[in-house]
């Protein structure tokens, strides 16, 4: 097998490095067995539903409100993360201050901290009796068990995405662009919005997309703070689980299929926008 493939020609010439067949085989086997086949099961299972059944499930009031809650909260969380992520990346790249290393090292905490732990901790913090929740409570603002709380949990899990997407681009950004703008008389703010931001935009968008996708799919950190009130604070992933607990597999599959489509569309949109932006960079 290996011998044959080494002889296969391609545009870069002959494959001289051994191991192509083995690597290809193992990669495909593992990808198929662990990722693709389980995913295909969702489509197989969904195909057993008639179109009418499918539409009935996903247009029921409870499910629609689940999508609305998940998408809107994830969108606002990603937006807030885009703003703070951009600021954090800027501060971490451009300024020196005591504690910078520590702050930089903390950014991945939401990756490392189990979401359930984050969930109960945030719930405690922002509930009526919590350290922060009680402050807002006096002002009449409820955070835990409302969509604000859901958004907050989604902000938590999304923090690393924007920062880590923008940071390397900002580090590599040629200072000449800013100097050129400065020489032409632009203020720091004007230079940032007209010259720096467009350069960071593809990375910012990628980070936003990842944070958005993560927010839509997030379960662990959200269930605790959400309160899960029907039509109000039930997120779509929670609905999948509750349908499963009622053994309504078809319903769960339908909800999941729509979530899958949303994530694929989101990724497709962001990828194409990035490819479009890539053109400006040229060579």
């Amino acid at each position: 097998m290996e011998q044959q493939i080494i002889k296969v020609k391609n545009k870069k010439g002959v494959k001289v490095i051994p191991g192509f067949g083995l690597s290809l085989g193992i990669t495909f086997f593992m990808l198929s067995a662990l990722i693709l086949i389980p995913l295909v099961s969702i489509f197989i299972s969904a195909s057993q539903l008639s179109f009418q059944e499918f539409v009935n499930v996903i247009t029921s009031r409870q499910i629609v409100s689940g999508y609305v809650v998940s998408l809107s909260c994830a969108f606002f969380a990603a937006l807030i993360n885009a703003v703070f992520g951009l600021m954090l990346a800027w501060v971490l790249v451009r300024y020196n201050f005591p504690g910078k290393r520590l702050a930089d090292g903390l950014i991945e905490l939401p990756f490392a901290l189990p979401t359930a732990v984050a969930g109960i901790s945030l719930t405690y913090l922002y509930s009526d009796k919590g350290w922060i929740g009680s402050l807002f409570g006096k002002a009449g603002i409820k955070i835990a068990y409302t969509r604000i709380g859901i958004t907050l949990a989604m902000i938590f899990v999304g923090i690393p995405f924007v920062v880590r997407a923008v940071q390397p681009v900002l580090e590599k950004l040629d200072r000449q662009y800013e100097e050129a703008a400065m020489m032409l008389g632009a203020s720091r703010t004007y230079t940032f919005f007209r010259v720096v931001l467009p350069e960071l935009f593809p990375a910012l968008l990628a980070g936003f997309g990842l944070a958005f996708a993560r927010g839509i799919g997030e379960y662990g950190s959200v269930v605790f703070i959400a309160g899960n009130l029907p039509y109000k604070t039930q997120i779509a992933p929670l609905l999948i689980i509750s349908k499963l607990e009622q053994y309504k597999y078809a319903d769960a599959t339908a909800i999941a299929l729509v979530l899958l489509l949303i994530s694929f569309l989101l990724m497709l949109f962001i990828n194409s926008l990035q490819i479009y932006m890539q053109k400006f960079i040229g060579t």
Binding site: N10, K11, I17, L31, P38, A112, S121, R188, I240
Partner: protein
């Protein structure tokens, strides 16, 4: 100096609006410093409120009822069993995903073939999918109603609501992590060195061990750390597939959920504190590797 006839009144010069202006402003105005400290302040406040404070909450609540209660919660039989299962799932996921990451990044960086881009996109799928959907996918494959359900039942293999399901779900959600760290490094390194070695007659394993591996060892370790961090904390996918059988299919994060929902708040935070310590250790390791990588 050679005299040159110059016409300074060419129309392009204009009226010289941008002549040197007789104003003296400091080059780096204090306003820039105000912006700087405001930005730093806002960012640090954000990090404190969103990241540090939740950690403090966990520790404070874990120790609220004293050291004895804490020790009892942490040394509880179910906690220990959950910890063991979490470690088993984490180690399995790291092992499997490391093997995959090595082969897949070697394949995509050292060989050119049609569909490379598509393959790279497929590998990234688990990043954009809800873990709950991933868990559902396994139930629809291996569960009673899944298309492999009957086959598994006849051979009395249990995957869903059992340990194998938890391991599979954990592998799924952390699948791209090692690949994601290895691929850019291997790709940047190119394939000249490997080709040279191959022409000298080295076999595949030797080439990997002697040529490729030294370039990627820190990236590999970094990927493993990220993968372990995510695997350890996975909740959604595992929650769907575990069936919540206490002492059997409960991971540490699921155990936290059960304790919390039973209003054993202090115990829940005590068990959480174990996970917080693990998370902080992972962060320290990550930063150490990052520093080594440079």
């Amino acid at each position: 100096m050679k005299e040159k006839k110059r016409n300074y009144d060419q129309d392009v010069v204009g009226d010289g609006i941008n002549t040197i202006q007789k104003v003296l402003e400091p080059v780096n105005g204090t306003s820039n410093n105000i912006v700087k400290y405001m930005l730093i302040g806002v960012c640090m406040l954000f990090l404190f409120l969103m990241l540090v404070l939740p950690l403090i909450v966990v520790i404070v609540n874990a120790l609220k009822d004293g050291w004895t209660v804490y020790r009892k919660a942490v040394q509880n039989e179910y906690t220990i069993k959950a910890l063991q299962l979490t470690l088993l799932a984490t180690v399995s996921a790291v092992g499997i995903n490391t093997i995959f990451g090595l082969f897949a990044s070697f394949l995509l960086s050292k060989f050119y073939f049609k569909g490379r881009q598509l393959l790279a996109t497929l590998i990234d799928i688990p990043f954009s999918i809800s873990p709950v959907v991933a868990g559902l996918a396994f139930i629809l494959t291996f569960g009673n109603i899944g298309w492999m359900g009957d086959f598994l039942k006849n051979h009395s293999i249990k995957i869903v609501f059992a340990v194998p399901g938890i391991i599979l779900a954990t592998i799924f959600v952390t699948f791209p992590f090692v690949f994601r760290e290895l691929f850019p490094v291997m790709n940047a390194q190119g394939k000249d060195e490997e080709e040279a070695a191959a022409l000298m007659g080295a076999n595949g394993f030797t080439i990997f061990r002697r040529i490729t591996f030294p370039h990627i060892k820190w990236a590999l370790l970094y990927g493993i750390i990220l993968c372990a961090a995510r695997a350890m904390g996975e909740f959604g996918a595992v929650s769907v597939i575990s069936g919540h059988l206490r002492g059997k299919t409960n991971t540490l994060p699921l155990h936290v959920e059960i304790l919390y929902n039973e209003f054993n708040t202090t115990e829940a935070f005590a068990v959480s504190s174990v996970l917080v310590i693990l998370a902080v250790l992972i962060l320290i390791a990550k930063n150490f590797v990052e520093w080594k990588k440079r």
